[in-house]
């Protein structure tokens, strides 16, 4: 009896310890960003593009990077969703659960999932060179799309797998074609689609390596797909490397902005997920 009680307590303490470490580091990170970033936060940071001498501590803001990041992450997520949802639908609704092609594809996407983003950046760069595209918003979107496709495919795949077979049968039994059945399944997984979008967007907006060569950097807000675009992670990187204290501080303010953008997207997508789950069958 005593041994069982000891075991119970031992593992419970272990779990609590892990929770403390995880939440502790979370608050430490967010706290540091706030502590170092807030003094350098002002309206200019989010409403202005870098002025002359911004990188030696003079006036301006990082609006160029905010907009650039939103363009790239948004563009890549939308484009990625168009490419990956047909894949997820096909391997689940058309190929069946034990199909060898479906399972090979799953493994392939798992591998792609694990590939470091610099590889996507390098690959995207090669493609751009081949087609004669310069570092631009378009190049950035394409490279980041490659990065998020495996995330989207695998997340959607996992969500679709949770749909009861009986629900699919129910629609088939009414004489639905496979595509019509797929539409029912998509309705059922709508909340899950928002999770996929959130994961993809979060990864896309935070990634440096894939946009390093492909999107370039610019102090201006891009007005066409062919102009280079700044991104927040790169802006943080450049500013952090400066010897000027003012500029370093702004790096933390930029990190704060990036964190808040991600926070807003997270809250927004979970609200949308809730809104769209009212018809979901339990």
């Amino acid at each position: 009896m005593i041994r069982r009680k000891l075991e119970e307590n031992f593992f419970r303490v272990l779990m609590l310890l892990s929770i403390i470490i995880v939440s502790g580091s979370f608050f430490l990170i967010v706290g540091t960003i706030f502590y170092k970033g807030v003094p350098f936060m002002n309206w200019d940071m989010i409403t202005k593009i870098p002025g002359g001498g911004f990188y030696i501590g003079k006036e301006g803001g990082v609006l160029n990077a905010i907009i650039g990041s939103l363009y790239i992450a948004g563009g890549a997520t939308v484009l990625g969703l168009f490419i990956s949802s047909p894949v997820a639908i096909y391997i689940n609704m058309y190929l069946g659960s034990r199909n060898i092609i479906a399972n090979s594809l799953r493994i392939a996407f798992d591998v792609l999932f694990g590939i470091p983003s610099i590889v996507y950046g390098a690959f995207g760069f090669l493609i751009m060179v081949y087609f004669g595209i310069k570092a631009s918003l378009l190049g950035g979107i394409l490279a980041v799309t490659l990065l998020v496709i495996p995330i989207l495919v695998r997340t959607l795949d996992e969500v679709i797998i949770t749909v009861p077979k009986e629900l699919r049968d129910a629609s088939l039994a009414l004489g639905a074609t496979r595509w019509e059945m797929s539409k029912v399944v998509l309705r059922q997984i709508r909340p899950g689609i928002f999770t996929a979008i959130l994961l993809s967007f979060g990864r896309a907006i935070g990634d440096v390596a894939s946009v390093l060569f492909t999107a370039g950097f610019s102090d201006n807000i891009p007005t066409s797909l062919h102009q280079p675009a700044a991104t927040l992670p790169l802006a943080i990187f450049f500013q952090l490397g400066s010897p000027v204290e003012e500029v370093q501080g702004r790096a933390y303010a930029s990190a704060l902005i990036l964190t808040i953008v991600v926070l807003i997207i997270t809250v927004l997508s979970s609200l949308l997920a809730k809104r769209f789950s009212k018809n979901k069958i339990q």
Partner: protein, 253 residues
């Protein structure tokens, strides 16, 4: 048994992987009657039911040989249109699975698949089918509420209404009352008895009392084979085969 079978199964064999589920099944299902398929778990009764509307197609490694003729058309003919076959059969599964949409849209789903009915026609049809399944008075004020908010018994009746809305000829029930409470069960059973005026009804059940209450004929399946087929009372009270005797013994005593 009858000179006008609705479904005629001829030498049907079904195997999944190396496992033979159904072996040389031949049977004529009479028109506008309730037929129960009984037998122990794993004997192949659900597989037999699903072979009638080709829902087996979706099972991995499944192999089907033989014929299932519905209205003179072999549904396993490669040229047969599978959506057309399924439209003829309403399926009521073990647990109700309403579609993830409103009550109204659930019933309207089938008609919308097979045509583009006008709003007024749909309204009428939805009301008709919800009345046919006794659900109308319970839901008429919240037709556009999510179907998932209904009780499980109401959901099963909604699924039946949804199936009837595509104007099938046959209703297939796969242990359709096994998740329901006794009151909902008896509502569904009464519906079956009532609906046989217009439809041929094939039910899989493991409850012999239910088979006796609702069906005109019983098929006893054991280890993938049809052991006995006959009128309900005869089969239950005076079985011809040893295996059937064994199986229904518990029922009689």
């Amino acid at each position: 048994m009858t000179n006008n079978p609705h479904i005629s199964v001829q030498h049907l064999n079904v195997s999944i992987g190396n496992h033979e589920i159904l072996k040389d099944i031949s049977i004529n299902i009479p028109d506008k009657k309730v037929i129960s398929i009984i037998g122990p778990s794993g004997c192949g009764k659900t597989t037999l039911l699903k072979s009638f509307n080709r829902l087996l197609d979706d099972t991995p490694d499944v192999k089907v040989t033989g014929k299932v003729v519905v209205d003179g058309e072999d549904i396993y003919d490669p040229k047969a249109e599978v959506t057309h076959i399924r439209k003829k059969m309403g399926l009521l599964s073990q647990r109700p699975y309403p579609l993830p949409m409103s009550i109204y849209d659930n019933v309207a789903y089938g008609p919308r698949l097979h045509g583009s009915p006008k709003k007024a026609e749909l309204d009428q049809l939805v009301e008709l089918q919800l009345k046919a399944t006794g659900l109308w008075n319970e839901v008429k004020d919240r037709l556009h509420a999510p179907a998932s908010r209904l009780s499980i018994g109401q959901q099963q009746r909604l699924c039946l209404a949804r199936g009837l809305a595509v104007e099938p000829e046959i209703i297939l029930g796969d242990e359709s009352t096994s998740a329901l409470d006794p009151v909902s069960t008896s509502i569904i059973e009464d519906l079956f008895i009532h609906l046989k005026q217009k439809y041929t009804i094939v039910l899989v059940t493991h409850i012999l009392r239910q088979a006796r209450r609702v069906s005109d004929y019983i098929i006893f399946v054991y280890m993938g084979k049809i052991i006995e087929f006959g009128p309900t009372e005869e089969l239950l009270l005076n079985p011809q085969k040893e295996l059937t005797k064994e199986y229904v013994k518990g029922f009689i005593s």
